[in-house]
């Protein structure tokens, strides 16, 4: 019964392995989502008009049950050109993360789009990828990013303004560089719609 003995030894070793493997039951650490965006502020300023702040606050992220709180601080003035800028943060961590900087670093992979509906608002990009890189860059052919933009109002009215950030869009597709989202493709990093009024 040599073989039985051999087997029993093997079995004993195996059992030893079982017990020695199972003592690492230390508590796992919490994970803080790295790609989370909790707060967005779009600041629109114009000479001779009150600044308009478009803000979104979504502390529990994309999969949390709480819906984002979307607010528009005031009304736009008719026939005015506003200058637009972004502040995008991840406040879920103790030290809030500045996502705007991250987008600047990855400018070539990102583009903002602005879509107004039922209201006389037009937008235009005022930046290019060259603004965010130290490397040689041809501003004439560089693509827009949209972290800086201008917003022009015409006659009074009420409608919505959709602000979207696409990740890895096809910036060469027709109309995309001019701000048309239709052919942009890519994945959505931000897609928020604000109620806006032009007075």
């Amino acid at each position: 019964m040599m073989n039985t003995r051999k087997f029993l030894i093997l079995a004993a070793i195996s059992l030893g392995l079982v017990t020695s493997c199972s003592d690492d039951d230390d508590t796992p650490g919490e994970v803080l989502e790295e790609e989370l965006i909790t707060d967005i502020t779009v600041t629109l300023t114009a000479e001779g008009a009150d600044a308009v702040l478009l803000t979104v606050n979504d502390p529990d992220g994309a999969d949390g049950p709480d819906a984002p709180v979307i607010t528009t601080s005031g009304s736009f003035k008719a026939n005015t050109v506003y200058t637009g800028s972004f502040e995008i943060l991840n406040k879920s961590e103790e030290e809030p993360e500045n996502v705007t900087e991250e987008i600047e670093e990855l400018a070539a992979e990102h583009q903002f789009f602005f879509v107004a509906k039922d209201v006389a608002i037009t937008t235009a990009y005022t930046d290019t990828e060259c603004d965010y890189t130290t490397e040689a860059c041809d501003a004439a052919t560089a693509k827009p990013v949209g972290l800086a933009f201008s917003l022009t109002t015409a006659e009074a009215g009420t409608g919505t303004l959709r602000v979207a950030l696409r990740h890895e869009p096809n910036k060469d597709a027709e109309g995309v560089a001019a701000g048309d989202i239709t052919n942009a493709g890519g994945g959505e990093d931000i897609d928020v719609t604000f109620n806006v009024t032009v007075e």
């Binding site: 039985t4 079995a11 803080l32 979504d58 961590e93 991250e102 897609d191």
Partner: protein, 793 residues
């Protein structure tokens, strides 16, 4: 070698002593070692003379000389024995033969009688496995009537048995129950089909040996056994396919010894690039796989042991166009009918992709006890690791997996099979299992599945009884205990939104950073399952009735999922309140085996109390836009189905095969259809066989699934209004034609060469399959031509 010399020596002795007085008689019986019964018709041969045992297993050999003889004792289905006896000293001898060689390792195709006895639903043989060598287990299993698959693209294929899949199907690989995160819809079994010699779908009581929760069925993969003789053989199989422009190669080498020792190694490697639909390349759908297995051991009459180890890994690209940002992308994809991303063909596999590997090891020992039965003891170890990579913000993040899980399992099991009585066998066994899931938190994505420890214990008893001529009963009971201890971080808002703070306050451990809460859910489940089956055989008919009660504890995904599943762009919510599923399944089957006409009809009903399903229920808004929410819930459901197949053997050369299967799954309370129920399918095949040539043409018709749950309404930010999301609407019916052929060449006395050509989807038909999760994004596969070459040596 030693034995050969001995034989020659004996022959010489016999020759020399032939002139002596030869008046001795040797008598005795030939007895089955296994159950002590006499063996009729056993042969005893020596010196070119052969004698047979009578009905009582007795023999008598007269006119022997007073010398030593080498007798060869043989019996059908037994391994022959050579025994040297000095007739001068011995005149009475009983020989013991082992009559259950299928278990001992003789390569032998089970006789028809044996097959009729068993509760096989369907089986794949070596030829089927060879044909699917480059594909996956899930693809091959579809050859069995009633089996379909749920796919993610063409490389992730999960078997669906009579409408059920995932944790409801148990896959047993070489005696080891696979623990490879089968809870995920996009998780294919981590198995190389080439390690199997046969694949069987088992229902009936024998399935209880492997688990009580296999509501759908048990799939048994068994390796080819190495015969008990001095032999060395192997095979090399390689195939090239036009789709994916790739190759799969598998090689195997087996060494057997008469002493019962054996050794076997096997390896597999495959690499395919992007596959193609009729009109475009399906970008990022390549696959790279590797596998190896080794086994060695000793198989004797009375005892045996073996050691088996296998490794398997797959790197699988997921269709680029299937990566979604939010609901807008999904709406666009569904409406556009064309993938968003079409690039040139490449072998490169980019994100999104899956990187999975699986280690499996086992040590097995058995011992037979004369006139009693067989004891089996097994320890097995498995380690399954899964990494899923998504397109994330920036290159650095994309290098980190979004899902990073490691599942380690240890199982100790033992069973005793009392099989010495001719009219019944009883199998009693116990199992203990420890499992640990580790979810890495290094990757900046909240864990979809938490860390947990799981302990399972089970006991079972299965009996098979021959009641009367042609009438058999098999039945069994099993008890399973599951204990699961998880550590999970919930978002506080989620915890409260779902009311867990009221119902499960005892699970709360402490607050954590990022408005999270550490919880410690602990569950215990007691599951009782039983199966009863009666079978009656008369003339060429077989009638069987089967009732099975099965209970399945919810899997970790059903309990704990919570969050955005990036690769699917959907929020998946488990439910801590989900309890066990209880299934009552009744199946009848009537089959006829004739020389010209064979058929089988098998209707079934399966009532599942608290059937756990996941389906789209609502949409959640966030900064990233809106996402469909898929919730797990339990609902009493019923499955009613019918599997039919028939074959006509028109002549020695021509035969046709026809099969049809249909299943209807509905929620009982609301009478609404369940999601992901396979549509009816009809298959017809014409085959021609002449000597070493096989040709077949197969038609596959898949009906449209007309019963599906309602679509949901979602807010489209692109259109600034609520729009219907066509997420449940099934695609149209489709018809495909396939061709298969092979030809065998003899290249020598021992080796054979087989060449095969297969064409899948001959007409290059454009279609989409309801059970392909990527059907929203792209068409299914176009024409695929595969050339196969196999050498047996």
């Amino acid at each position: 070698m030693k034995r050969g010399t001995l034989c020659i020596w004996l022959l010489l002795v016999i020759q020399v002593s032939y002139a002596q007085d030869c008046l001795k008689t040797l008598s005795g019986s030939v007895i089955d070692f296994h159950d002590g019964l006499p063996l009729e018709g056993a042969t005893i041969s020596y010196n070119n003379i052969t004698i047979q045992t009578d009905a009582e297993g007795k023999y008598s050999i007269p006119n022997l000389c007073e010398i030593a003889y080498a007798f060869t004792i043989a019996h059908e289905n037994c391994n022959s024995q050579v025994v040297t006896i000095n007739v001068q000293e011995i005149t009475h001898k009983d020989f013991y033969l082992e009559h259950h060689l299928s278990e001992l390792g003789e390569v032998k195709i089970a006789s028809i009688q044996e097959q009729l006895r068993s509760s096989y639903e369907g089986a794949l043989d070596k030829n089927d496995i060879e044909r699917y060598s480059a594909a996956s287990l899930g693809d091959a299993l579809k050859e069995i009537t009633g089996v379909s698959s749920i796919n993610t693209g063409s490389t992730i294929v999960k078997p669906v048995v009579q409408g059920l899949y995932g944790s409801r199907i148990t896959i047993v690989n070489n005696g080891v129950r696979m623990q490879d995160m089968e809870w995920g819809e996009e998780h294919a079994p981590n198995i190389d089909i080439n390690t199997a010699g046969s694949v069987t779908l088992v229902e009936g009581a024998s399935a209880l040996q492997y688990g009580g929760d296999a509501i759908g069925g048990v799939i048994l993969m068994k390796p080819t056994k190495v015969p008990l003789k001095d032999t060395l053989f192997g095979k090399l199989h390689t195939s090239f396919s036009t789709l994916g422009r790739g190759n799969a190669t598998t090689a195997e080498l087996s060494k057997g010894y008469k002493s019962g020792s054996f050794f076997k190694v096997q390896g597999m490697i495959k690499k395919f690039g992007d596959v193609e639909a009729p009109d475009y390349v399906l970008s990022n759908t390549g696959i790279e796989g590797k596998g190896a297995s080794i086994s060695f051991g000793k198989n004797k009459f009375e005892y045996g042991w073996d050691v088996f180890y296998s490794y398997f890994e797959n790197e699988i690209g997921i269709l680029s166009a299937a990566h979604l940002g939010n609901t807008n992308n999904l709406i666009e994809a569904i409406n556009s009918r064309e993938p968003r991303i079409i690039r040139d063909f490449t072998y490169a596999i980019d994100n999104p992709r899956q990187d999975v590997n699986h280690h499996l090891g086992r040590v097995n020992y058995f011992k037979r006890f004369e006139k009693l039965g067989k004891l089996n003891i097994q320890y097995d170890f498995q380690k399954n690791s899964r990494k899923e990579f998504d397109i994330r913000r920036g290159e650095e993040l994309s290098k980190k997996p979004s899902v990073d899980l490691e599942l380690t399992t240890h199982t100790l099991s033992t069973d005793f099979k009392f099989d010495s009585k001719p009219n019944y066998t009883v199998n009693v066994g116990f199992m203990g299992r420890y499992q640990e899931n580790f979810a890495s938190g290094e990757n900046g994505v909240r864990r979809l599945i938490p860390d947990y420890e799981k302990i399972d214990a089970a006991g079972f008893l299965i009996a098979t009884v021959d009641i009367a001529d042609g009438l058999t009963y098999d039945g069994g009971v099993r008890y399973d205990f599951n204990y699961i201890d998880a550590l999970k971080f919930y978002r506080k808002s989620t915890w409260e939104d779902r009311g867990y703070n009221i119902d499960f306050a005892e699970f709360e451990v402490r607050d954590a950073e990022g408005s999270q809460l550490l919880t410690n859910p602990v569950y215990e489940f007691h599951n009782f399952s039983t199966t009863h089956r009666v079978q009656y055989e008369f003339n060429n008919y077989r009638l069987a009735a089967n009732y099975a009660l099965a209970k399945r504890a919810p899997n970790p995904a059903e309990l704990f999922s919570d969050g955005l599943h990036h690769s699917a762009a959907r929020i998946e919510n488990g439910d801590l309140r989900i309890g066990q599923e209880t299934s009552h399944k009744m199946q009848l089957s009537l089959q006829k085996n004739g020389t010209f006409w064979r058929w089988k009809v098998a209707p079934y009903v399966n009532f599942v109390q608290d059937y756990i399903l996941i389906e789209p229920t609502s949409v959640r808004l966030s900064i990233r836009g809106s996402f469909p929410v898929w919730d797990y819930r339990a609902a009493d459901s019923r499955f009613i189905g019918l599997d039919m197949n028939t074959s006509f053997h028109w002549s020695d050369q021509w035969r046709t095969d026809h099969s049809f299967s249909i299943v209807k799954g509905k929620e009982i309370d609301t009478d609404t259809p369940l999601i992901n129920i396979p549509p009816p399918s009809l298959r017809n095949k014409v085959s021609y066989t002449k000597e070493k040539l096989n040709l077949s043409l197969e038609s596959e018709y898949n009906f449209r699934q007309n019963e599906y749950p309602d679509n949901i309404m979602v807010f489209s930010s692109a259109e600034q209004k609520e729009v219907p999301l066509d997420i449940n609407t099934p695609p149209d019916a489709y018809h495909l034609l396939h061709f298969s052929s092979d030809y065998s060449l003899d290249t020598g006395t021992k080796s054979t060469l087989k060449i095969g050509v297969d064409i899948h989807n001959i007409l290059n038909t454009t279609y989409r399959n309801y059970l392909n999760r990527l059907r929203f994004f792209a068409d299914d596969l176009g024409r695929n031509i595969t050339v196969r070459l196999s050498i047996n040596y």
